[in-house]
Every structure is written in structure tokens, then in C-alpha cells.
Symmetry: D2
Subunit: 327 residues, 4 copies
């Protein structure tokens, strides 16, 4: 399905894979500060923070999958099928802010500059299932929201809206986040270092390979195994802190859970693949991405746009394999 | 350490990762047909098949890590530390051809046009441990050799030279290949499809994620786990057969076993990473590669060189992250 | 910690292991129909169903760990540390029946003849944490309750009292039952049969051993792994339906999760072991058990007691290894 | 198939499970010192060490599965199907002692008092495949031989007779012993202690259960998984050193790899089970055993027999469940 991660060097990076069996037509989309936002229940917002992210644009409205605003607050929605349950609109209670699931990313990123502010906003929210249109039924999602200081996971489930501290800074899909975190304990003893033999004291065990300290880490593409694998990779990552080294390392982190065509069959002859992988520098507002068929990193820099304008700026994905021939 | 794989669509592809904690200075190196080859025990060869591959070039001599010749025969040497045992030179027996381990790739690729011919050549070989020089002690390696029809693994061990059919077309490091293949049976029931519940007949188990059919596949970076993972990925890969689709898929196959910096600590603060990943189109003689810090694919096309010449043509690796800015 | 299971042949069997680092002094204890029961909040009960089970008897009061009543309804309490949260006594609400956790087994078994009746009883219960005495603080437990038709799991947690259908008829400890069941899906494809090779189509994998269809089943002593292992063993068990064959098979089922001294260190030099394993024939009211130091099955038959009496009948555990010397 | 183990407290213990889908009719069989032994190629032996063990007796000849002699040397043969290759009789070479596989146990136990002596004997042996009779084709076996000081594994394979030091003192079936030992390194970091979190430094992982230090230990019934599990259990076992405590612990060690009926289907509706489990006190010459249907330990004491006699003494297995009714 999908995997998201955060990574901190000198700057703060965040991004995600989008794994699916087909693409809806995504574009890197910059929403400048004066793009008029019309919320379904919450009225209009004529001025707001500028946002860059990956979106399917429908009738000039950006349905963001993941995005970051000019304050360095980022957010990604990931599939949460079978567990996402949205509220009904509550138009009686004045204090509740009814926000449709498809508006959740712009709602948050247009007005919050930190996770701390998001926590306050979420106290008042009533996240409802109203679809964007008949053609776009409500996606069953959960979200990771992060700035350079902290990350949270937001899940709207049967029991209501749950907001979790996300100390590992990763998210995949089912099961719910609290169970994913609980199950991480199963791997607590794994390590980048070779293990000390505590299995058979006094017996010489031949450590026949490097990297045996993480044996037991799952390698399949289920959301539970991707969660454990990307958490391990992210939490143990080491890199220089230059932009290039940080971005490279970030794509390697998400590369650990990439979905190869053929390895996850979702219907006869249909395979889930990592359609795109994104990484944004939250401080600089640069949105990097690769696609399944193009391993070169493409980038759009929010700050090269006129952020005071009012129209969306859209960049179709560079999809073909761009090969650098040396001769 | 390293992983190699083969892949067949319309053309035949092969390549490898080189995983280590530092680079020796590799270059994509084309050896044209008239580059004079001086073998340690086997004399000179003034004319031979042209070769392209990754090499450390020492005193104008290419110490190939992996290469393919103009006939479409490819070969890669991978670490086999603790198990590789080379013979002593046997200068008595006329029928034996003494070849040093560092000459093995040019010895084979200069004169064989198929694995079938390699099998014959190996009947006469005496693979010896003579080092290239004092500065380059004999590397402990084993090899995968493949053309579009078949692949073999060659291991020089205590018991002698072993030649194995390699039906999965992958190789990593320890343990020896026959044990790696034996242990694949542990994963026989894994599948890209969702499993049918045979665990608890009549009980409804909630298949909460896609891709649960391969649960049990190992996800760590040991050579045994990489063998299983890359074998699964390769054997189940699906792609179009165009050059771009094939090459993309090949890099995704090896991406499944990529080593991220931090996840495999080989000494205090030293981490093994995937220094480069290569992929050649054996039919067309194009050598593609990426590096840890440059995810864009670079390429050198053997057939754009003058293959009748006598001098090595060397292309230093493009290492920095080449980002395609869209604005 | 502990494991419980049910098993059905001609009769219905149920039992559990008690795993801990020391014993409190348990006895097989028969409570006849006229033993006067004084409930903390619910008054006295002078007549009730007869019960047999394992109990620590304090001041002539049986603190049952597991028991079955004369109607064939059985129940076992298992450690649920960190997740069990009991209610406060609610003496306002008339409709609520305040029952202390230590009274839960006699409360249920004294008056219910089926799980169906238990479900009704649980609608009215307010399970409170009042301890038996200062010396016996409230144990953090959850329960499996079963008759020959169905099994349920009861958990008193932060969110309130949860009653789950238990379709596999097993229980261990943490995490909560719904998570344990969810995670069983990770093993859905395991099977007593040899796997068909779906890993590497067309490649001959040498199935070098019998029993490879369940590779991936966890073998450690954690409560999560014991849950999966005993569920697999129970759900796939086959036996004759005679009393001896059924009882033998039942002890083999729980034997699959037995704790050996040394394998689970809970404090320096302290090891959790399977102190006893019980199995009752719910139809016949026979309570069988073994202990860590006595593998012979001992038994107490409720129906050989005067069930119309009013005093507890207590049988200390037969603990030494009873060996049958043939010469 | 089968599992063997050794265990040392004050005395030395050894034994095995015999796992199969049916029994051949085994008996605990004492061979006194003057029972006349006729070897196929090696002539007669009229006097020898006394032996006790489990055997199928054919025409008054004990085909031992496992046995111990009066000197405390024990030996067990376990299935090794597909890998066992026996030599042809070599009647030319004087120095070679031709011994049939079915004679191997009596050949060794009749004349060796220690593993050290066995090592010498094995220097001269030519282990041949001559069957006992047409009705008893040569079983494909390998052996564990042990005294209180050391254990070895003997395997007759394609490459010849291999003798391995067995530092863990356990044996199961395929793959060959050296591979089993190599693969133990995969579990090197497992431990009876709770793991320290090295997976996600600085993140609080909730160790929700006791015994999480051995997560990753395999729980299925394949010979590879049983090898790892019994090695872990044996190497970490703790017990008192009295006879009862030692024997109890030994049966618990082998209990960790017991085969429950239904969990390993070897043909339609045919299931491998642990037919018997044996344990001998090598110092005292007592042979203990349990069977699938009788969990009580039965015992035969060699020293209660007249060891100077010449006839086999046979004790049929006590098979029914012997239950100790307390009321």
C-alpha cells in the first residue's frame, strides 16, 4: 500500500511511497498563499500558508496525497482500509469543526505551522466522511503529520479520532498504529551489529555473514512487515547532513520497503508497485520524487514559484527512465 | 556484501550490487578486442572478445568485479570469505590451465561465447590463488556466470572447484551456493498471492493487509537473507520487455537487497552500503549503473567504442546526486 | 505465563498450563453444591452448581485458577498484566452486579450452565478490582469460558468489559485477545501438509524434511508465540475419541507450549516453568493434571465426591516423578 | 522424524524421540554380556559389554534404535533420508572393518567404553549398506554417540564417512549436521533474557510479554526447526541434579520438539507423531521412556538383570495412559 517516513539531519525530511496497482494521475502541485480554499462545512479561506505536495487535481482542486507547507509542517495520508471510520457531520455543536477527509491535508497545512498547533486544531475537529464528489468516494486513510520536532499519527476509527505520538516517525497501513508499535517490541533485540552468542553459551557459532544482527526482520511487502523494516532502517540510518547526502539517504530508507512489480499480486495479473516515492526538505520547501520507471530524482522547489499568487502550479511527473549516457 | 541477479525479458540482463564499507575506485572499463592480455601462467592473448564491466584499473590492468563480453556472456565475482580456497599452481600437468583468481573474469570472457563453452573451459582450469601484486592480495570470491540460456555458480573450495547450475539466477555470499539453494526450500510456500487459510480451518482470519503471502521472507542484510529475498523478487518479477521497463525492473530487483547506511555495522562506526548497482543488457553491450549517492542510472555503451582498438576506455563513476529540477 | 485450550472429540475437554517462577500452593478442589458462597457485594448463595478445579485455598475459600462445573461449563483465568483494568464498585445502579475479580470464576460457574447463559450474566456484571485480602492483591487476569458449543474470552480493560467470541478456543496472555487473533492471520498459509513451491516457479526446491508446511510458526515462549503455536496445534489436532486418546491428545496440545526451566528467565536465576497442566472432561467432571516434576497424569473425579455436601474437598498435587519400573 | 539430546547434571543423560506415522513394535531390550553376537563380515563376538536400549527384535536379533552400554556410552540412530550413502563391502583391504548399518550400534557399544575409543574404531570402519534381511532394507540413518565427556555425530554420505564433534549434543534429521550447526548462527542472539532494545534507540518499546528474548526461534516440526529449538532448550536448561529432577528436565527438553498428531501430515490422513521418547541415565544403566499414549515414565534398570547371561531380556512398551486417580 504505502509507507511514510521522517528523517532528520541538518534539515528535516519527510516523504512517502505510494504503492498501488495503478496511478490516478498525480502531479506535484504548488498551492500559493492566495489560492482560494472553499471548505465544505468551514467556509472560505482566502489567505493561507503556501503548500507543495503530490495531488490529483480535480476541477482545479488539489486532492493532496502528501504535502508540506512553507512553515515546514508535513503530512501524508496512507491507506487504512477496513479501519478508517469517519464521523457524520455535526452541525449542531458550534465548537466542532466539520472537515471532510479529502480536505484534511489542506485544512491542517493551510493554518498550522507546527505539530503543536495541529494538536490544538485536532481538539476541535470533527473529521467526516463526505466525499469530494460521487466520482471520488471517501478514501479510507490515516495520516502522519510531522515537523522537525515531533511526529503524530491520526486515525479516525470506530472509537473516534485517535492522535498518537509517533516516536519512530514512520507509518504504513493496517493494523492500527498502536498495534504496529506494540508489535515492534517483537524485534527489540535486532541490531546493526553482529549478535553476541547468547543462544548456546560456550559453543562456537560461525557468524558466516556480516549483518546477522538483524536476522528476524521481516522481508515481505505486507504493511506490518514494511512497518518493522522501515522503522529499523530509519532508526538506524546514518548519513552526512548535506542536502545531497540527506536526500540520498532518505530515498534509501524508503527503498527498503519498495514494492517490486510481481511480488504482491492484488488481483489476477495485477500487481501493486511503488508508483512514486517522495521526499521533501521541510525547511527549504523542495519536493523530490522518483517514480517506478524513473529512478532519477526529480524536484520542484516551492520557493521558485510566486507564492503570493492565487493559481495552482502543477508539474506532471517525469515518468520515463532518464539515463545519463557517458559515451 | 554483494548480490548478483539475472533477468530475462526480450533481452537478457544481468548485474550486481557491490556492498562494502569503502570503495576502491571503480570505473566502467571497456576492453577492446586488441587490448593485449598477459596471463600469469597462460601466456599472452593478443586478440579476444571485447569486454565491458566494472573494474579497478591497476597499472592499466582491469581488475574486473563484473563484466560482460560482446557475445552476451556475463560474469560477476562476489565475496566468499572463509570458504574460498584456491589451488596451488600446477605446472607439471600439461592438461591443466593455471589461472589466477584475479584473471578469472578476463580468462573466461575473452574466449567463451556461452555458458556451455565456459563449462568446457572449467574442465581444464586450475584456479590458483596467485595475487595480482603484493598490494592486491587474492580476493576470496565465488562467481556467477550467465548467458541468456543458463547460469552457473563457480566456487573454489577446500574440496576443489565446484560448478553448480544456478536455476534461480542469483548469488550473494556465504554460505556456499548449494546450502543457499537447499535453504530456499524453507520458503517454498511463500507467494505473491494472499494465502488461503490452512492454519485454522473454519476460522475466519482477517487478512488485514495486501501482500501477506510472503510473510516469512527475511528482511535483514545477511547474505543468507539477501539470497532468499532477491530470489523471491527475481523469480516473481513481472515487467514489460522494452529496454526501459526491463532495466527499471532489474534495478528494482536488486533494490530489494540494497544495503542502507547504518543498518549493517562492520566495525565501530563503519557501515556497509551498496556502493554501486550494475545492470547490463547482454545483447546490446550496454552497462548501466547507479551509486549510493546517485540514483540516476548512468550508462556506457560498449558499441559506441572502437572495439578494434587496443587501449582500455575508462569511465569514472558519476557519483553526485543528479537531480532533475522541474522549475 | 499461561496457556489455555479447548478440545472436542466425543466429549468436550478444556484445560490450561500455569506458568510461573514459583507455586502458591495449589490443590484440586471440589466445591459441592451446598458449600456456602459469600460474595463481597452480591450476598450469599447457599445452593449452586458443584465445581471442580485448581485453587489456592485461603481460609477455606477456594481462589480458583481454573475450574469446571457439573453442567460442563469451564473457565480459566490467565495473566493479563498491564492490560487488565477493573471497575470501581457501583453501588448506586441497581441493575449492575458488582463482582470482584477473585469471585469471577465461582460467580459464573455457580449459576451458569452454558456460555449462552454466561453472556447474559456478563451483561449485568460490574467486574471490580476489590482484592480478596491485603495478602492477595487483585490479580490482573483475563478469562476463557467455554462449553462444548462455544468459547468466549472476557477482558476487563481500560475501555470496559470486552467479551469476544473465541473461535480457536485458546488463550495465552498479552497482547489483548483481539490483537492475538488479528496476528494469527500472519500464519494463515501454514499447514500440516508439505508446501507446494510457489516461491520460485519452475525451480526444483528440495523439500529436505517432513513438516515444512508450518515453517514460520514461532517457537519461543512469549505469550504471542505461544498463542500462535497452540492455536496451530489445537486447530490441526487429530485423535481418536476415547477418553484416553482424547486426554492424551489434549496434554500433547498444551505440551506444544510448555515452558522448560531455563528458557525464560524472569529475574536473575529465576525461570518461569509450567508448574502444572490441567485438562478436564467437561461432560464427566474429571479433572486431570500433570506437574513439572511428575509427567504421570493424576486425576480427581468430581462425581466420586458427595456433591450434596457443604465442605470443600481438597487434593494436594502429586508432585514427585512417579516412575513405573518394569523390572 | 526424530530428535536426540544429551544432558549433564550429576550424571549423564541421553535419549531421543522416535517420530513416525506407525510403530514397528519396539521393546526395551537388554543384551547381556554373553549374548552371542554374529556380525555379517566381522565374525562372532561371544563376550562384550552389556547393552540396554530400544529395539525391534527380529529372530532374536535386536535392531537397536538407540542404546547405552554398561560403560555409559550411548548412541542413537536417526533418519537421514536422502543423504545417507553407505559403502560397498570391501573384503580386499585387510585393515578395513566392514560393518553393516544395522550392526553399527551393537558394533560400537559392544566394545567401546568412551567416545574416544569410538573415534579410533571409526578410523577402521567401512560402514556398508547390507540390509538385515529382505524384509528390513537398509535404513538411511545418521548417529549421535556420546559419553559424559563429549558427543559426536557420524554421517555416512556420498563423500564418505564424516565424524563431527557435536558441541550442542543434539541431533535431528536433514540437512546434514554441519549445515544444521552452521544455521544455528542465525539464532545466535536469542536468549532466555528479555532483549535490550537495540532496534530503535531512544524509543520506548513495550515488552508486553515475558520470554521475548527468544522471538525468532522456529516452532514448526521440520528437522531444521527442531534442531534449533532443541539446541536452544538443551543449552539453556537448568535443573537440580537429583535423578528425578534430571530425568524430568530431560523429558521437558525433548518435549520442546514433540510431534503432536495432526501437525505433520506425511500422507493423506497419516500423521507423524512422537511414538516414544527415551532417556537413559548413562551412569546407572536405567532406560526411561514415555509413549504418545502414556505420559507416565516407565523404566527398565539394566542392573536389575543378570548381565552375565546370554539371552535377550525384552520389555514390551507400556502403552496405555496410566492415570493416577486420587479419589
Amino acid at each position: 500500500m504505502c509507507t511514510a517516513a521522517t528523517y532528520k539531519t541538518k534539515d528535516f525530511y519527510m516523504g512517502r511511497t505510494l504503492d498501488y496497482e495503478f496511478a490516478y494521475g498525480e502531479e506535484v502541485t504548488v498551492m500559493p498563499r492566495n489560492y482560494p480554499l472553499h471548505f465544505r462545512y468551514m467556509g472560505d479561506m482566502s489567505e493561507h500558508f503556501a503548500i507543495i505536495g503530490m495531488a490529483h487535481v480535480a476541477d482545479n482542486y488539489p486532492l493532496y496525497y502528501d504535502a508540506v507547507n512553507e512553515k515546514g509542517l508535513g503530512m501524508a495520508g496512507l491507506n487504512f482500509v477496513g479501519n478508517a471510520v469517519y464521523a457524520e457531520p455535526d452541525t449542531e455543536a458550534d465548537e466542532k469543526e466539520n472537515v471532510s477527509q479529502y480536505e484534511f491535508i489542506p485544512w491542517v497545512l493551510s493554518q498550522c505551522s507546527s505539530v503543536k498547533e495541529v494538536r490544538s486544531l485536532l481538539m476541535r475537529i470533527n473529521l467526516v466522511g463526505t466525499p469530494y464528489s460521487e466520482m471520488f468516494p471517501a478514501a479510507q486513510l490515516h495520516w502522519i503529520i510531522a515537523d522537525e520536532n515531533e511526529a503524530i499519527t491520526v486515525e479516525s476509527v470506530k472509537e473516534g479520532l485517535k492522535v498518537y505520538d509517533n516516536h519512530v516517525g514512520v507509518l504504513t497501513n493496517n493494523p492500527p498504529f498502536d498495534i504496529q508499535m506494540l508489535m515492534l517490541a517483537d524485534y527489540a533485540g535486532l541490531s546493526p551489529k553482529q549478535p553476541v552468542n547468547t543462544f548456546a553459551s560456550g559453543v562456537n557459532l560461525n557468524m558466516y555473514s556480516r549483518g546477522m544482527g538483524a536476522m528476524g526482520l521481516p522481508g515481505d511487502l505486507s504493511s506490518r512487515s514494511r512497518f518493522a523494516r522501515v522503522a529499523y532502517t530509519k532508526m538506524n540510518s546514518r548519513s552526512g547532513d548535506s542536502e545531497n547526502e540527506s536526500v540520498s539517504q532518505f530515498f534509501h530508507i524508503l527503498g527498503s520497503v519498495e514494492q517490486q512489480r510481481g511480488c504482491c499480486e492484488v488481483a489476477d495479473g495485477k500487481y501493486e508497485i511503488t508508483i512514486y516515492t517522495s521526499c521533501w526538505n521541510a525547511a527549504k520547501g523542495i519536493y523530490y520524487y522518483t517514480t517506478y520507471e524513473n529512478s532519477q530524482i526529480s524536484a520542484v522547489d516551492m520557493n521558485r514559484e510566486d507564492l503570493e499568487s492565487s493559481g495552482l502550479k502543477r508539474y506532471p511527473l517525469v515518468n520515463g527512465q532518464h539515463i545519463n549516457y557517458q559515451n
